[in-house]
């Protein structure tokens, strides 16, 4: 298509914790500083900043993007915050991509930050306001409802059992044991641990769910001519796609995420990928709940409908498997500071594709990875394909 090539050249992240001492601005700054140091740049080199952060209600701060701007290094810089709910963390690199691809900027800083612990007493209560104010909110819905009823629909439609789905949580939490920023890494966790955990909203149990977390991640993007000058190992953004389904979620079949499929098709087309399952070496699909990974792998075309769980049962998804899934440990293992968790997947692909992932490094010099996030009322898919 004759588009400008855009590379990821630096990354930084804070630990993901239940409750951080740092303020939202400080978390943003810590991640940004680390990303700058990782590619030996300073704020003077940054021409624009993109911010990703989830609902203002978490922080109780209106126009949260404006509030965070100086922490993210946006003082006297063009600064935009894009927002697609839970999909934001993988949308922010898309936003950064079009900043650079437009030709207006050569070097752009992306920061995703979340401090969910500010909401008192529990961030989940903030989620009641995501439902339609007239037709749904009066029923006092819990966020877990939509996940639980989607999970139930998915399990029933394809005849998948909870024991198999639990393998996802186990795998991701085991992977996270090797992530220095992880909150819930557990090398010894078993399927029984997941199945015996507290029932929150059947079929969802405690260990099926990622935790509420605080944290930040930052990424630096550069145009090709700059990237080649600054690093010998640029990782290219080869494909991007995003898609938002109707808000009338009760009018859709929840068994399959069409919006993920549409977003993925867009990204594959741009990246020139014909056979995703053969050409993608690492997948970082969005995993706030264990079943969601399966849902998303199917939407991404990396597994047939209802068959994604086989990737876990036959070892394909393991870190040493044919297509490691969430070698980072994902949201289930590292933690889920919403937007930051999505951008963490981009950071993971960056490190993995450069061979810098330390104890988590997957074997076989992977060349292409895919990251995906999801959000809103089971409605939005955001997809980024990266390669070296």
């Amino acid at each position: 298509m004759g588009m400008r090539k855009v590379a990821v050249i630096g990354a930084g992240m804070t630990k993901f914790v239940r409750r951080a001492q740092e303020t939202p601005k400080e978390l943003s700054w810590e991640a940004a500083r680390m990303a700058l140091e990782s590619c030996e740049l300073t704020m003077d080199d940054i021409q624009a900043v993109c911010m990703g952060t989830a609902p203002d209600a978490f922080d109780g701060v209106h126009m949260k993007g404006e509030y965070l701007s100086d922490g993210a290094g946006a003082w006297r810089k063009p600064y935009l915050r894009a927002f697609v709910g839970g999909g934001t963390g993988v949308f922010t690199p898309i936003q950064g991509w079009y900043h650079v691809a437009s030709g207006l900027f050569d070097v752009v800083l992306l920061v995703c930050e979340e401090k969910m612990s500010s909401f008192y007493p529990h961030a989940q209560a903030a989620f009641v306001t995501i439902f339609d104010h007239t037709t749904e909110r009066p029923l006092k819905p819990n966020l877990l409802w939509i996940f639980a009823i989607e999970m139930n629909r998915y399990m029933t439609a394809y005849g998948i059992n909870k024991k198999d789905i639990a393998r996802v949580a186990v795998q991701h939490k085991q992977n996270a044991a090797n992530h220095p920023c992880a909150m819930l890494g557990e090398a010894d966790i078993t399927v029984d641990d997941v199945l015996n955990s507290e029932v929150l909203a059947w079929p969802v149990q405690r260990l099926d769910v990622s935790p509420v977390s605080d944290g930040a991640v930052a990424i630096i993007l550069a145009a090709e001519h700059v990237a080649r000058r600054l690093t010998s190992k640029p990782v290219w953004i080869e494909g991007v796609g995003w898609n938002l389904d109707t808000a009338y979620w009760t009018n859709r079949d929840l068994a399959y995420p069409r919006y993920v499929e549409y977003a993925a098709r867009q990204a594959y087309e741009m990246a020139g990928i014909q056979e995703p399952r053969k050409e993608i070496h690492i997948a970082e699909p969005y995993d706030p709940f264990d079943y969601k990974v399966l849902h998303h792998l199917e939407g991404l075309g990396l597994a047939e409908r209802g068959k994604a769980v086989d990737l876990y049962l036959n070892g394909t998804a393991a870190p040493d498997g044919d297509m490691p899934v969430c070698p980072s440990g994902g949201l289930l293992g590292v933690g889920n500071p919403i937007a930051a968790a999505g951008l963490m997947k981009i950071a993971e692909l960056f490190w993995q594709l450069r061979g810098e992932a330390g104890a988590r490094q997957v074997p076989g010099s992977p060349k292409k990875g895919i990251a995906q996030a999801w959000g809103d009322l089971m409605q939005v898919g955001t997809v980024v394909i990266m390669g070296r």
Partner: protein, 175 residues
């Protein structure tokens, strides 16, 4: 990178840090009040509920009947103004047994949120992924007895107590 970095930033706090007063914080309770105009589509829907009727809307172009009513078909972008009552019976498309309230209080008797595909509205089929379904709660049922596919009917508030709100339906119960 992660291989080289020894110390990642971020300081984790515990409940104890707050109890012992080591960490200072500012508490604020927000007052954000709104009066949302319901408009034409949802206005008709709420007026219907007050009468004890669930209204859907039919797209003259796609020929689908969906709930709740809206003034534009999101699939073909044609305007919709043909309001049709659908039945207050339907089938559980999916559900959950939820042991925590919206503000995360633990409960022993679960709430049972469900998506109910209403009779008289469009249904899922081989060729259609669009249905006329709404979210509501189930009641008068042993939680473990609920299945996907269970037939249910709305239990309405007494007419005198209805106010034109989704809560005019108390819940759906199996039939």
């Amino acid at each position: 990178m992660t291989a080289r970095i020894k110390n990642f930033p971020g300081v984790s706090l515990s409940e104890k840090d707050f109890e012992e007063g080591k960490i200072l914080f500012v508490h604020d309770e927000l007052k954000a009040d709104y009066a949302w105009d319901t408009g034409i589509g949802i206005g008709a829907y709420l007026a219907g509920l007050k009468r004890g009727v669930i209204l859907g809307v039919r797209c003259g172009h796609c020929r689908k009947i969906v709930v709740p009513p809206r003034t534009v078909c999101e699939w073909c972008f044609h305007p919709m103004d043909e309001y049709v009552p659908v039945k207050d019976t339907g089938m559980v498309n999916t559900f959950s047994l939820c042991y925590v309230t919206w503000d995360v209080k633990r409960i022993t008797e679960p709430e049972i949120p469900a998506v109910i595909a209403l009779d008289g509205a469009s249904a899922l089929s081989e060729t259609s992924v669009i249905m006329g379904g709404i979210m509501h709660k189930l009641g008068e049922v042993e939680p473990k007895q609920v299945k996907i596919g269970t037939r249910v009917q709305a239990v309405w508030k007494p007419e005198s107590e209805r106010e034109g709100a989704i809560t005019d339906i108390l819940y759906f119960k199996p039939i």
